[in-house]
Symmetry: C2
Subunit: 556 residues, 2 copies
């Protein structure tokens, strides 16, 4: 008798492909679904007024009975940030490492979800069983501690998902990436490798985090007479550790500033991921008790975010820290694409206050470059390569690396969010497309702002608004009051009185004609007003403000 045919594994990215952020991928085998990560994205420039963007999880809700839980690779916003929103729609248990869970729990507390969410901390080397899946957590290195790759075992085969990773042979805290385990799993046969594409365009290796510590030591040694202020990513606990190490060596007190920085440092210390020597940390209010050259401030704001601590210092609106000419400010970060101008603005402001600003050799990436990708491919030796985590250009560069190592072109899959990639050891192909999308979060509103609203905001932002109001007698359509004109964001009204009065006249004339005619339904009146106003304003200014005609009617 023929052996019963095994099912196929389905990989369904619900976000994160062809974009930076919003990483979330469903793995489906028969009646079991596990979801890897649940991140947010930051709004694009044209998403005016939007705070953040989360994935549309309709597919998970439609298959709620199958979904076993979230498996989280690490604690960055683009991998965990949507959890509080998505958990309100579909409550699932969360499985991840200790520090990652600590950071998630802070979020769940804020959203009042801590009690209602089942959570289980997993150690590297451990596995968990979720329906027909077994998931093994493998130690990696990244710009946040406790990052994991996942080996996802299904009856159809094993998928290795790197998460965000780099190869750091000399990490600051804990072990190097568990290359032996990658090799061991690879030796037994791996169906697919899903690997981090962020730096796939870059040749060579990413430097060890420890090299930054060496730079810090040099800077501390050369700046023994100035206060040091170091801006970095709050979540980079190893970076903070290295600043603390240098501070301890050079006998400086450490002040931590910025809400997210304080939060992460306290979580990381509590959980044992940060080693702070006694009497090193001081409160910001204690700064006055020490000379400037005996202090180092660790602060948020390395991306030039306007509300972050460093930006407020630079703009002279920080309540407790004033930049002095003999401050030395270190950006221990690179600008994330899109933040270049904001970062530059802060550097200019700091320099103009006489401070020295250092931003070279003070950062290393947390993502693998081409040689590290080649190493992982060569250890895992997957049948299929599925580049993940990146814009199309990055996915493509990763695909080129895979092909250069001999993986046949037809076994390399650049897939899109929503694609259903069905695979087993015989074949792999995209068989379906499920609904995915971006849900915009604006204040308390989740999903109540969409393209039409954004288009209106863009229109308003471009040229402002002109409102034309008038009151008609209900039965006769006789004009009782108006047209009155109110504008915002269009021109200085005081200096353009004539323009506005002439525009009002143009509308008034068109209106007279329209009301004297026989067809005077409101739509026609509104259209007449809008056209007359648009024409006049375009002719005079070559601008197109939004024109809103409002008609009221009154029984007399």
């Amino acid at each position: 008798m023929k052996k019963e045919k095994k099912g196929k594994l389905r990989i369904i990215p619900l976000g994160g492909l062809e974009q930076i952020g919003m990483n979330i991928t469903a793995f489906e085998y028969e009646d079991s679904i596990v979801v890897v990560d649940c991140g947010l994205a930051f709004p694009e420039d044209d998403m005016l007024g939007i705070d953040l963007v989360i994935p549309d999880v309709t597919y998970l809700k439609d298959n709620a009975s199958k979904v076993k839980g979230f498996v989280i690779t690490h604690g960055h916003e683009d991998h965990i940030g949507a959890l509080p929103y998505v958990l309100k729609e579909i409550n699932l248990p969360i499985y991840t490492t200790k520090l990652t869970m600590g950071i998630i729990e802070n979020k769940l507390k804020e959203h009042n979800l801590l009690r209602s969410t089942k959570r289980k901390v997993v150690q590297h080397g451990q596995s968990i069983n979720l329906g027909k899946f077994r998931i093994e957590f493998i130690k990696t290195n990244h710009s946040i501690q406790d990052a994991s790759a996942l080996a996802i075992y299904s009856p159809a085969g094993v998928v290795v998902h790197t998460g965000d990773f780099k190869v750091d042979y000399t990490p600051v805290f804990g072990d190097a990436i568990d290359l032996q385990r990658f090799a061991e799993i690879g030796k037994k046969g791996v169906l697919a490798l899903m690997s981090d594409s962020t730096n796939a365009e870059r040749k060579g290796f990413t430097q060890s985090e420890r090299t930054v510590g060496i730079t810090f030591d040099h800077i501390f040694a050369e700046h023994q007479n100035t206060r040091l202020i170091i801006a970095t990513f709050a979540s980079n606990v190893d970076r903070v550790q290295q600043i603390i190490n240098s501070a301890y060596k050079y006998k400086r007190k450490v002040v931590v500033e910025g809400r997210s920085m304080v939060n992460i440092i306290s979580t990381a210390s509590e959980l044992g991921y940060l080693n702070v020597p006694e009497n090193t940390l001081i409160e910001i209010d204690e700064m006055k008790n020490y000379p400037p050259e005996k202090m180092v401030l660790i602060t948020t704001g390395s991306q030039g975010e306007s509300m972050a601590a460093l930006s407020r210092m630079a703009a002279d609106v920080h309540r407790k820290v004033t930049i002095q000419p003999n401050d030395t400010i270190i950006f221990s970060s690179n600008p994330i694409p899109g933040n270049e101008k904001s970062v530059s603005r802060v550097i200019n402001e700091l320099s103009a206050k006489g401070a020295e600003v250092i931003f070279q050799d003070t950062h290393v990436s947390g993502h693998a470059c081409q040689e590290e990708l080649k190493l992982i491919y060569s250890l895992v030796k997957p049948k299929y390569a599925i580049p993940v985590h990146g814009e199309y250009r990055h996915l493509k560069a990763n695909a080129e690396v895979a092909k250069s190592l001999g993986i046949p072109k037809q076994n390399v899959f650049i897939i899109q969010s929503g694609d259903v990639l069905e695979l087993d050891d015989e074949s792999a192909r995209v068989v379906d497309k499920v609904h995915t999308g971006a849900v915009l979060v604006d204040g308390l509103g989740v999903g109540d702002v969409g393209n039409i609203v954004l288009r209106d905001r863009q229109h308003l932002a471009e040229d402002g608004i002109i409102i034309v109001v008038l009151t008609l007698e209900r039965r006769t359509n006789r004009l009782l009051a108006g047209p009155d004109i109110v504008s915002r964001g269009f021109v200085y009204v005081r200096e353009s009185e004539q323009l506005m009065e002439d525009a009002r006249k143009a509308v008034s004339d068109a209106l007279d004609k329209c009301l004297s005619g026989r067809h005077t339904d409101w739509n026609k009146i509104k259209l007449t007003i809008r056209d007359a106003m648009n024409d006049y304003i375009w002719k005079k200014t070559k601008r197109r403000p939004m024109v809103i005609p409002i008609i009221m009617d009154v029984d007399v």
Copy 2:
């Protein structure tokens, strides 16, 4: 008898310092003023809807009788772009080199200013006399041809102004920078050197333009089976020349696409700055007559500008060029800070169409790095150093270079727009501040949009607008109609009907109370409406749309 005391030279930057763009500097000696450059700036991210920014030239208008003319260093927008606007306010003759004048004349034609503007073409090595000044044009190298440094001779001493420059020993067209003349002038004694700070943070030397030509040759050699599309800055005629050279060598026809590219190439060819072999250029409509691998397109759009030719090709909305999987696209440019994401978007779109995209080693800067600055300082040996052309961080880096060469700290001046730096061979100091500023150009409007209008646009962009209208009886303030609510850019109205209806009720209730009271002037009514609406909407959504109450009154 004591010799009569000589006057002092006054240097007054009216723009261009602590910013990129809008370069314009007045040099004043007694009754003579000459103005170097007259550039525009591109709007900052928060200048919503603004097309471009030009300098406020109140100081020139107030001293119109003294001003002798504009001396222009080269033909980039940040040095010539404001001319058509400023000439309408103060008509002055223009002095510059041939290609620069050709580019300016194209602008003057568009603005109908060609006849009314006196112009004189000057050759490198020549001088012109303007009042008490003599201005000598010195050959330099830059990313546009015919760039000049200026030696500005006044009775108080000589100022050397580098313009935008690099040192290119092997330029593609014409001569290398006239280092001998810099040395000769320096030998005779120079009061001040004003030098380009753009790349002052970068170590080493900027590579020769010719290195890009070598890269092009390699790319052409390696891509003999694909169509080539090369995006670069329209004004970089040498770059275009090198593409044409490679095309000729590899027997490809050249197609030029993008309005500004076509214009500059035609101007440069007419004036003899571009050497196009016969039968090399073809029209875009002739493309169908040649196989793809026998063509190279030179196009605009290297900065990801949404309306430029390459962006339209990438987005599949170009009328004549469709990107094919075997196209090779070369970005011969670096993203200008702020354009990184737009450029990346275009790269993603092109890659997703299967095209190969090359953006490494295909560009060199047009600005001097630190070693070149050191060379010029060492040839000119000025008494005073005045870094120009850059944000504060760049000016400061240039100042550090000057100091490292032994120029005393107190002789290095980082000045701001509006500062009046008065100098002679005995002393130099900032003695005054004149009015300067940025004038915003929006459509036809010059200066009719300012901070209040921009703040309104930002407010509108952030959360949209809610308009509340009502009609009152004139004498009694009895409510005849409304309050009616209209919103734009706030929420999807259809999905938020209940919210809007509840908001209307909240306003209506507040209004009832207000109208029943004794103090019912319109301002109070409007305030009541605004407060009630703001409170309700903030409570429900944590957003703050702009709320505009409009009251009409009717005699019944």
